[in-house]
Amino acid sequence: MPGGSLTLRGRVRALLGDDIDTDMIYPGRYLNITDREKTAAHLFELAYPEIRAAIQPGDVIVAGKNFGCGSSREQAAAALKFAGAGAVIAASFARIFFRNAINLGLPAVVSPDAAPLCSLADELEIDLGAGEIHNLTNGRTSPSAALDPRAVELLAAGGLVPYLKRKYINSRRETCPSTE
């Protein structure tokens, strides 16, 4: 989220169901790729290669319940981010994926109401501060869960690494911020 803005815009690139697991998002065979940028090439490789082929910067992935269940692999969130996803909206997230997304600066937005109000290619405006998702294509608005202030702070900083770099590097005994 460049500039620390709490509002972002993007088109719905995919509408997915419940329990999209981390192996679908990023297959285990590529876990030895540790350059985050390079993970993008394998996003949804086995399950939905068409998403990877079509994704444009700022695109939004919309999904059902328990998005990112399974492994703790941070590459799942990294692949989404570096493939260009601007945000993931889901009815709910598995806890480790949610933390990973925020820690990497990828907005993970909880909204049980968004998916039914979206179609593919709709343009969305996500207001993280107000907890609202405006569908600019059909004019409808759905609420999203308010993000914890720590999450907002991390997203504004671009993730945990830049946040820690800036804020805590000179006072090592401070606590490590994160959120869930």
């Binding site: 192996d23 297959p27 399950a47 492994s71 703790s72 820690l164 770099k165 490590c176 994160s178």
Partner: protein, 431 residues
């Protein structure tokens, strides 16, 4: 007000007298576990610009996902981590051939005690709740923060209480119980929550069987899961742990979000199978009909322990793996491997036609040592059957108990051990 185990441990680790669900606390971390992904942690750590880890005695690194290195890329990762371990003076490092699967090595080597807060860059870190620890998985970048400061934010979870009574039927094990529970609650049934397993049937279980429950609780989304801290557990820990051990228990008036009662005898008549491609698609074995099996895998942090190898050896003894099937066996650790050799289990398994992989995660992560081709079906004692988990996206993966994996290897299709072994004894090893 009374507290659950999760609340008690988080209260103490955060210096609070009392905590309640949804409260956010900063807790001291007692142990930070990583495997090969220590390389990702290392990169984030160096990117932040920190020069030293907070406490080199509290970090444990175990290579298990790709052992021995299956590619030049992994070899370079292993090498980079080894050099980081040496440079930082990280005290507990288990290299190739020295340990095994991290979740087995941690308790085996005496790193886990009741009441600890453990974070690991592996989702199955929940396993250590079988030792009374608040143990949960986190991502690599978050771990870099822990390496830096030794503490972490947690939202205090609400707790599900699962009480199990009754006698397990012959050949029914902890794996069948937890698959049954996941089938009932769903893949998100315990999302963000703590789970306490208790009741007479749990208290009779071996430590190895309890680890199956806390390990797989992750597959219904649990943040942490516990089995009781009792004499059986302390008997396991005493020879391994130098520090003083304490009994911890939830308060009698602790508040639970929900309580679930299960009768192991009445609710579990036959083996439970998780069908492709989700761990909560659970069916009783007899509902599945004839399912030919090309590969059977016995191992993993879920079911690669001595009692698992023992029950498999009992099933395959004097028999031969079916011509269309490959049986892959992976002891969870070097210690288990040696003990299984000493007791003759390895000999029995190999004589039946099994191939033994080195201790580690093996094919469970879909990297090496038993990858599936399109059109193949595998029955596995592991913990995930997601699309493409063990290879081709056009392969099918069924999760089952070690007894069913062994029986299926012999039958060449999903099979109940009772169809092979006349002597019908419980496969649940009681402590």
């Amino acid at each position: 007000m009374g507290m659950t185990l999760a609340e008690k441990i988080l209260a103490r680790a955060s210096g609070c007298e009392c905590v309640a669900p949804d409260q956010v606390v900063v807790a001291r971390v007692d142990l930070a576990l990583s495997h090969e992904n220590a390389d990702l942690v290392r990169k984030s750590f160096l990117e932040i610009g920190v020069d030293r880890v907070w406490d080199p005695s509290k970090i444990v690194i175990v290579f298990d996902h790709r052992v021995p290195a299956e590619s030049e890329k992994t070899a370079a990762t292993h090498k980079a981590v080894r050099e980081f371990v040496a440079a930082q003076g990280i005290e507990h490092f288990y290299d190739v051939g020295r340990g095994g699967i991290c979740h087995q090595v941690l308790p085996e080597e005496g790193h886990v005690r009741p009441g600890m807060v453990i974070v690991g860059t592996d989702s199955h870190t929940t396993t250590h709740g079988a030792f009374g620890a608040f143990a949960t998985g986190i991502g690599a970048t978050e771990m870099a923060g822990v390496w830096m400061v030794g503490s972490l934010w947690f939202k205090v979870p609400s707790t599900l209480r699962i009480e199990v009574e009754g006698e397990f039927r012959p050949w029914i094990s902890a794996k069948d119980l937890i698959l049954h529970i996941i089938g009932r609650l769903g893949a998100a049934g315990a999302d963000y929550r703590a789970v306490e397993f208790d009741g007479p049937a749990i208290r009779r279980m071996s430590v190895a069987s309890r680890m199956v429950l806390t390990n797989l609780a992750m597959e219904m989304g649990a943040k942490v899961a516990f089995t009781p801290v009792d004499e059986i557990l302390l008997d396991y820990l005493r020879p391994r742990v130098a520090e003083k051990l304490e009994m911890i228990a939830p308060d009698a008036d602790a508040r639970y979000e929900r309580a679930i009662a299960i009768d192991a005898g009445e609710d579990l008549w036959e083996p439970q199978i998780a069908c492709p491609h989700s761990v909560d698609r659970v069916q009783p074995l007899s509902a599945l009909g004839d399912v030919p099996v090309h590969q059977a895998v016995l191992g993993s942090c879920t079911n690669g322990r001595l009692e698992d190898l023992e029950v498999a050896a009992r099933v395959v003894a004097g028999r031969t793996v079916h011509p269309r099937t490959r049986l892959i066996v992976i002891p969870a650790s070097q210690q288990i491997y040696r003990e299984a050799m000493r007791l003759g289990f390895i000999e029995t398994l190999v004589a039946a036609g099994a191939i033994i992989n080195p201790p580690g995660c093996g094919p469970c992560v879909g990297v090496h040592q038993g990858i599936l081709a399109a059109g193949e079906t595998c029955v596995s004692s592991t913990n995930r059957n997601f699309l493409g988990r063990m290879g081709s996206k056009d392969s099918l993966l069924y999760l089952a108990s070690p007894a069913v994996v062994a029986a299926s290897a012999i039958a060449g299709q999903l099979a109940h051990p009772v169809s092979l072994v006349k002597q019908s004894e419980p496969c649940l090893v009681e402590a």
